[in-house]
């Protein structure tokens, strides 16, 4: 895919000569004695589509508000284009924010809401209607232009907020859960529109989302946050395939976690001893581990195969009993109970109709995976 091609080329964070557009340097933000952002250091590059992911209350909005200028860091500094922005008031920053609460002006129509920022800008008066209408078309709001915010639906309001923040085409656009209230189809369309806008205008996007799929689709990099700290920053595929911690592995997607003791073998090989009567798990890791170190083995359900016959020449095989099957349409997740009592999840695509499938509840099955399918985590 062309898209994919482009993404692999676009890696400014790997290029030492590239200057970040935003730099957080040891930024801490406290509200009273509560620490919302804890000594955070982060670089975001021009033209990035940077996604912030994390549980509720971890500080995503606070991070955005500091960029927009509504909160000042308690300590540390934020640089925009190499200039410390602490003293720059919000209206002088080339940053626009879409508020999580939308913050639409209730006394203005949809049209005037979108035009609000343009009218305060240097844009010639004659160009404003064209730009507003373009935004209305983009967000499919043309027919609601004359309505007030309280006369439209929640999803429509969200789109007005999005259109209003996009209208000025700022250098940096902060979107706090921009698509949460939209249905899947509209959301997908808007995601692609956002990516398209970014291609055309070169705007840098920082986007907060609770939707992992969205982060995976649109983001150049994803930051996973926890309690005011950033746990991992990486491209979506690296976040998914090689999480650096149990927290990230568990937060992004579905994962099986097995606790055991690591016994390194030759090269990158490692054996993880777990459960009483279980054969050790064979895995690969680049980490240097002490023999007997406690580790967690993480493996995604779709990396585990399931079979009703013992498979030949698989690196890892365990036997179990089907406890539950979750049918998700295109795939099914099998919950398999091992003799030790642990439950592993395995996923298989539903290439056959249900009636023709051969695995069902209480069947004895074999789960298997290769030695590179999972990863070994120490934290």
């Amino acid at each position: 895919m062309a898209q994919q091609q482009k993404k692999t080329v676009f890696e400014p964070w790997e290029d030492p000569s590239e200057k970040p557009i935003i730099r957080f340097k040891n930024v801490t933000k406290r509200f009273g004695d509560f620490t919302a952002i804890d000594n955070l250091t982060l670089d975001i590059y021009r033209r990035e589509f940077f996604a912030l992911l994390g549980p509720s209350g971890c500080g995503k909005t606070t991070l955005m508000r500091m960029l927009a200028g509504f909160e000042t860091p308690t300590s540390g500094s934020i640089l925009l284009d190499d200039k410390d922005i602490a003293a720059v008031p919000p209206n002088k920053r080339e940053v626009n924010m879409m508020f999580q609460s939308y913050a639409l002006f209730p006394h203005l129509t949809v049209y005037d809401n979108i035009a609000f920022g343009l009218r305060r800008s240097s844009m010639p008066k004659a160009d404003i209607p064209g730009r507003v209408e373009q935004m209305l078309r983009l967000t499919q709001l043309t027919q609601f232009a004359k309505r007030k915010p309280h006369q439209i639906s929640g999803g429509q309001r969200q789109r007005v907020a999005l259109a209003r923040s996009l209208a000025k085409a700022p250098k940096l656009l902060l979107l706090d859960e921009p698509l949460g209230a939209l249905d899947k189809k509209l959301r997908n369309e808007t995601q692609f529109e956002l990516m398209d806008i970014q291609e055309k205008t070169g705007t840098t996007f920082v986007i907060v989302t609770h939707d992992q799929e969205e982060a995976m689709t649109v983001a150049s990099r994803v930051a996973v946050m926890d309690q005011g700290r950033i746990v991992q920053v990486a491209t979506p595929d690296r976040i998914y395939e090689t999480p650096n911690s149990v927290y990230v592995a568990d937060f992004i997607g579905d994962v099986n976690l097995i606790t055991g003791k690591a016994y390194p073998g030759t090269g990158e090989q490692v054996e993880i001893h777990w459960g009483e009567a279980q054969a050790p798990i064979r895995a690969n890791t680049s980490k240097s581990l002490a023999a007997g170190a406690e580790v967690k083995f993480a493996i995604r359900p779709e990396k585990i195969g399931i079979a009703s016959e013992p498979p030949q020449d698989a690196a890892n095989v365990v036997q179990g009993k089907v406890l539950d099957i979750a049918y998700l349409g295109n795939i099914s997740t099998y919950h398999v109970e091992l003799p030790s009592g642990d439950v592993l999840k395995a996923q298989a695509t539903n290439s056959r109709r249900i009636s023709r499938r051969n695995i069902t509840w209480d069947d004895t099955v074999w789960l298997f995976w290769t030695d590179t399918a999972g990863i070994v985590l120490t934290e």
């Binding site: 927009a68 200028g69 509504f70 008031p89 919000p90 209206n91 940053v95 626009n96 924010m97 508020f99 609460s101 913050a103 639409l104 002006f105 209730p106 006394h107 609000f116 920022g117 305060r120 800008s121 007030k148 309280h150 209003r164 000025k168």
Partner: protein, 298 residues
């Protein structure tokens, strides 16, 4: 269910009927009567013992003479106009003084607000009359204000404030300020703070954000406050009587004099009916504003 609703509607209607419509009917009737040296001091009186002919006679005796009289003497027209002017100017001053106070209250830290609110309402704890008398003590020639100004040396001779329209303005603005502050405060306080942030984010300075967002959103409060000041100020009696001078012409004062000095109840009633008609316009507008606000709030 239906019975309950009927009852709920009935209560305010009964209230209105008992305390407004019936008294108003009586006043209207008196305004159509003629002055007489009797108790009560007007004719005709309804004489039911004369039967049907008595009732007919009674209604035939009613006429619009008193209203015609009001148009013949310039005094009444001038008094109405002067009242409207004083009420309007007082309303504007109250708005100019009250808005910043309400704004300051709404922007104050949460734990301060109940105290500030209390301070605004506090004057109501003493009698209105006592507070007006207190102003006489402050504003008179040898009052506190003049003494203070003389002491700091701004003036050499005492200012004459009491018994002028100045004193009336001061009195009205002082008395009705809480009625301006409270609705504006209510409107500002429920305003979402992120709206100001959004305006700034989109390129407004704090000042223009105020005029483009905060002020338009507080408009229902401003309108309510203006009516709450204008309507009672128009018919104000006590303040112009006690603080105003002989040249202070307000319809409330005229009304008072017609009733109690001249004992001309029919003319006084006619004055009252006209005053009410003048007030109906702003009252209807006020109701409209309230209704619009309620609809927008949904």
């Amino acid at each position: 269910m239906d019975l309950r609703r009927t009852f709920l509607i009935f209560v305010p209607f009964a209230w209105l009927l008992l305390l407004f419509l019936i008294p108003f009917g009586i006043v209207l009737k008196i305004s159509l009567s003629d002055i007489a040296l009797s108790i009560p001091p007007y004719t005709p009186q309804l004489d039911l013992s004369a039967g049907w002919s008595g009732i007919v006679e009674y209604f035939q005796a009613l006429d619009l003479e008193n209203y015609v009289f009001l148009t013949q003497d310039n005094l009444y027209f001038l008094a109405y106009m002067s009242s409207v002017q004083i009420a309007f100017i007082s309303m504007v001053i109250t708005l100019i003084v009250g808005y910043p106070i309400a704004y300051g209250m709404a922007k104050a830290p949460d734990h301060w607000r109940p105290t500030l609110m209390m301070l605004v309402i506090l004057p109501f704890w003493t009698s209105f009359l006592i507070r007006v008398y207190a102003w006489m003590g402050i504003l008179s020639q040898e009052g506190f204000l003049n003494q203070f100004l003389l002491w700091i040396g701004i003036i050499d001779t005492p200012l004459t404030i009491l018994n002028t329209n100045w004193a009336v303005y001061i009195g009205i603005v002082y008395t009705y300020l809480p009625f301006m502050i409270l609705p504006i405060y209510a409107a500002l306080e429920k305003m979402d703070g992120s709206l100001m942030e959004a305006a700034e984010d989109l390129g407004c300075s704090q000042t223009s954000a105020f005029w483009l967002v905060t002020f338009p959103l507080s408009r229902p409060g401003v309108i309510a406050g203006c009516f709450l000041v204008f309507i009672p100020a128009l018919g104000e009696v006590v303040i112009p009587s006690l603080l105003g001078g002989s040249q202070t012409l307000m319809i409330g004062k005229v009304l008072w004099e017609e009733f109690f000095s001249n004992r001309d109840w029919p003319v006084a009633s006619a004055v009252a009916v006209i005053l009410l008609l003048i007030l109906v316009i702003p009252i209807v507008l006020f109701q409209r504003n309230e209704q619009k606000q309620r609809e927008a709030g949904r």
